[in-house]
């Protein structure tokens, strides 16, 4: 195995001295008492509980509502770093929308031989129902959460493009509110760019994508699977903040060619539906017939241009992990530019040569299921036991096309407040981008997820991850 690379700490770099963006924070921190900060941390937790920022854990009877732990040390990004990141994200979001349009129309990229046809044809995320359908404004993915990781001063990688229904934005907003509430002084010492306009920007962006046939005030609704869904809090939060209705499938039906919601005064048509329900459950007449979460007939209304669905059905083809490895080609093909942000080098195990390399180097690699999410079904080679390695080897050999592999990146760390003071932990970053015919808007910052267990690389909230407030500094 290759020698492990040194780990880049975002507060202290490789040198141990505070990096420029963290200077003021470090100075402030040195004057604070750890015990006092720990009390504040407990206070933050009770604020979160009261607000109800909880997530539901599936399959656990008692204590089904849990908090995602919040760490009060902010993650700080400079104006220059952010400029590169946001340009790179915008480029990717444009490319993804162009790719989706192409894939569901002429498939030029396949004709050009840049993406193999099997990637599309044999992919469950490709929806034949979307062939030839042009969504309003030609936007497929309206809300994108691009997962980024950092490995050095100027080294960022895109880990995943979440183009279906990225979640976590409510944590970005509540984390900032909590920091403002607990440490107002930090915000007068540091010039941090605001994030609180996100719900308004989201509403504006969604309204800009409304169907041509609609008139007057734009009616926006958020479609949730219901209060038992793990992200219900976020659905309610976004609807509330946007001034939109929060609806479930049984509140909706198709009336006179429109999707309408049952109000106290009868059925009222909806123009834009921000759905947090997977494609499969969206319309029992078109997809899973047993679904109670969707609206029978919504796909017909959609195809006739009577409603905007955000994100569009079938966007999953763009954030599929097998497609991910083609993103550099996709960006170049549609934008004519070199990708600004790097992809993590990826072995597609469907390729026999790649598979044999992956099997030989299993203990060095991260292996992921092509369709998996949430950190499940994933192998982190260097951290795995012999038994886990051999079990995974069997899975790989049985169905190689189900997996991709990547080198284990030495993810950057940011300190958390541990019992005795600061202690570094690995982080990633999910900025949120909004796409509409008016352009791509990216909220400065995003959700920083942190692996609270020392040395762990898994940041998912379902597996012991926490979150941090993410600061993008104003220009110096």
């Amino acid at each position: 195995m290759t020698k492990p690379r040194p780990i880049f700490d975002e507060m202290t770099g490789f040198s141990g001295q505070p990096r420029k963006p963290y200077e003021k924070y470090s100075e402030w921190f040195s004057k604070e008492e750890v015990a006092h900060l720990r009390r504040k941390s407990a206070r933050a937790e009770s604020l979160f509980r009261l607000t109800g920022i909880t997530f539901n854990v599936y399959g656990v009877e008692e204590a089904t509502e849990r908090l995602i732990p919040f760490d009060l040390v902010p993650r700080i990004i400079t104006a220059r770093e952010w400029q590169t990141l946001s340009r790179g994200i915008e480029q990717r979001v444009r490319a993804i929308n162009a790719f989706l349009h192409d894939i569901y129309h002429r498939q030029e990229i396949i004709r050009a031989g840049r993406v193999p046809v099997e990637m599309i044809a044999n992919n469950d995320a490709f929806l034949p129902e979307m062939i030839g359908v042009s969504p309003p404004g030609n936007i497929y993915t309206h809300i994108v959460g691009t997962d980024l990781v950092r490995t050095g001063e100027n080294e960022f990688y895109v880990l995943e493009d979440n183009a279906r229904t990225p979640s976590g934005v409510s944590y970005m907003l509540e984390n900032r509110e909590t920091m403002l509430h607990m440490f107002p002084e930090l915000f007068s010492q540091n010039r941090v760019r605001g994030v609180s306009h996100y719900p308004r920007a989201l509403r504006r962006s969604l309204s800009a994508c409304r169907p041509d046939m609609t008139q007057g005030h734009t009616v926006v609704a958020v479609l949730t699977p219901g209060i038992h869904n793990s992200a219900y809090y976020e659905h309610a939060f976004l609807a509330d903040q946007m001034g939109a209705e929060l609806v479930e499938g049984h509140d909706l039906r198709v009336v006179d060619g429109r999707v309408a919601m049952r109000t106290t005064q009868g059925y009222q048509p909806i123009d834009v539906i921000y759905r947090r329900v997977d494609d499969e459950y969206l319309d029992p007449l078109t997809f899973n017939p047993d679904s109670m979460l969707g609206v029978p007939g919504i796909m017909d209304v959609y195809r006739a241009g009577g409603i905007t669905i955000a994100n569009a059905p079938g966007t999953g083809i763009a954030d599929d992990k097998a497609i991910y490895s083609y993103m550099p080609e996709i960006v170049e093909f549609y934008t004519g530019e070199r990708p600004i942000l790097n992809n993590v080098p990826t072995w597609r195990c469907s390729d026999p040569e790649a598979l044999s390399y992956v099997l030989d180097h299993l203990d060095e690699l991260v292996v992921k299921e092509v369709h998996g999410s949430g950190g499940y079904g994933m192998l982190v080679g260097p951290a795995a036991s012999k038994k886990e390695l051999s079990e995974f080897r069997a899975k790989l050999e049985a169905k190689p096309s189900n997996y991709i592999a990547q080198p284990t990146l030495s993810l950057s760390t940011v300190p958390i407040l541990a019992s005795k003071g600061l202690s570094p932990r690995h982080v990633d970053l999910r900025p949120f981008a909004l796409a509409s015919p008016n352009g791509v808007e990216i909220i400065p910052g995003g959700l920083t997820r942190v692996a609270l267990k020392k040395g762990s690389l898994v940041v998912n909230s379902s597996q012991g991850g926490g979150t941090k407030d993410t600061w993008v500094l104003e220009d110096e």
Partner: protein, 313 residues
């Protein structure tokens, strides 16, 4: 607003009100069993009856004793009418209608649930009962206060208020129904200790003891008590008061939506009964019959509101 949200507001406040009423009934029952232990069993039985929970209770336990009934009414999660279950249902509805609530109202409901979950995690000893019952009433008052102080006066607010008064009138009527016989003129041994305690229990379980004493110079008198709880517009738990409020809230909706519905006709009929009646006429026609009829009409009105405003499909 969504029909589902209207229903959620209505039920959220009904459940909050119910938790408070149940706590008050436990208080009255406890008081009775402390002062007259010989009558405790029949007292708890009538409280279980008034709450509509006697059958539920008997399915679980043989015999009625204070500790068991208190536990059943206060914290038994398998009892859908317990204080804990009511608060839990109120919060579930609050989560469902979260977008219709101000932060203050949501937090008041959520805090109520969090506090009671902790306080009622274990069996409550007799010595802690008064404090806990007080907390239940107080938390419910916080929710009402947050609602009054922060909510916009629109259709959402009116559905919430409908829930409050609907549940409250229902509760008062049930108390009267279970106790009507001690209010009948035929058993009027005025001044006997037995009846004084009985009458006081009625007033206590409707939170009307002090109000009665302020407004009535004379001793407890069954006719006055009945008049007070049924017809007096000054008492916020009387049937007449609650129904005038329900009528006001429904009128608001009719004006706001520009449409009168069948429920408006129905509520007018019920209200008329309180406006044009004296307590003597009620007694002449039969107190029990009057209350039974009221409960049945009230139930029908509830169904009508649910249909008219599309709570469910």
């Amino acid at each position: 607003m969504l029909g589902k949200t209207a229903g959620g507001m209505f039920w959220m406040l009904r459940y909050m009100e119910r938790s408070e009423n149940t706590a008050r009934m436990i208080d009255a029952g406890m008081r009775m069993s402390l002062t007259r232990s010989s009558a405790a069993e029949s007292e708890w039985t009538s409280i279980l009856t008034a709450l509509g929970l006697l059958a539920e209770y008997q399915q679980r336990y043989d015999g009625v004793d204070s500790a068991r009934v208190v536990n059943f009414l206060l914290r038994d999660k398998s009892n859908p009418g317990s204080v804990m279950s009511s608060v839990e249902s109120a919060r579930t509805n609050a989560r469902m209608v979260r977008t219709a609530l101000t932060r203050e109202v949501w937090e008041a409901v959520n805090e109520c649930w969090m506090d009671l979950k902790e306080l009622l995690a274990r069996q409550v000893g007799q010595q802690d009962l008064p404090d806990i019952l007080q907390i239940v009433r107080q938390r419910s008052a916080y929710v009402r206060g947050a609602l009054a102080g922060t909510m916009v006066r629109n259709d959402i607010y009116n559905f919430a208020r409908l829930g409050t008064f609907f549940e409250r009138a229902d509760n008062t009527a049930r108390v009267l129904d279970v106790k009507y016989y001690i209010l009948l003129p035929s058993v009027m041994h005025v001044g006997s200790a037995t009846d004084n305690v009985q009458w006081e229990t009625i007033l206590r379980s409707t939170s009307a003891t002090r109000a009665y004493q302020t407004l009535h110079e004379n001793e407890y008198n069954p006719r006055d008590i009945a008049r007070f709880l049924i017809l007096d517009h000054r008492l916020p738990r009387s049937l007449a008061f609650c129904y005038r409020k329900i009528s006001d809230n429904l009128d608001y909706l009719a004006r706001d939506y520009g449409e009168r519905m069948p429920c408006h006709q129905k509520v007018g009929e019920i209200c008329a009964r309180f406006e044009n009646t004296t307590i003597d006429e009620i007694f002449d026609g039969g107190l029990h019959e009057f209350i039974m009829e009221f409960l049945s009409d009230s139930h029908m009105l509830g169904k009508q509101i649910e249909t008219d405003y599309r709570f469910i499909e």
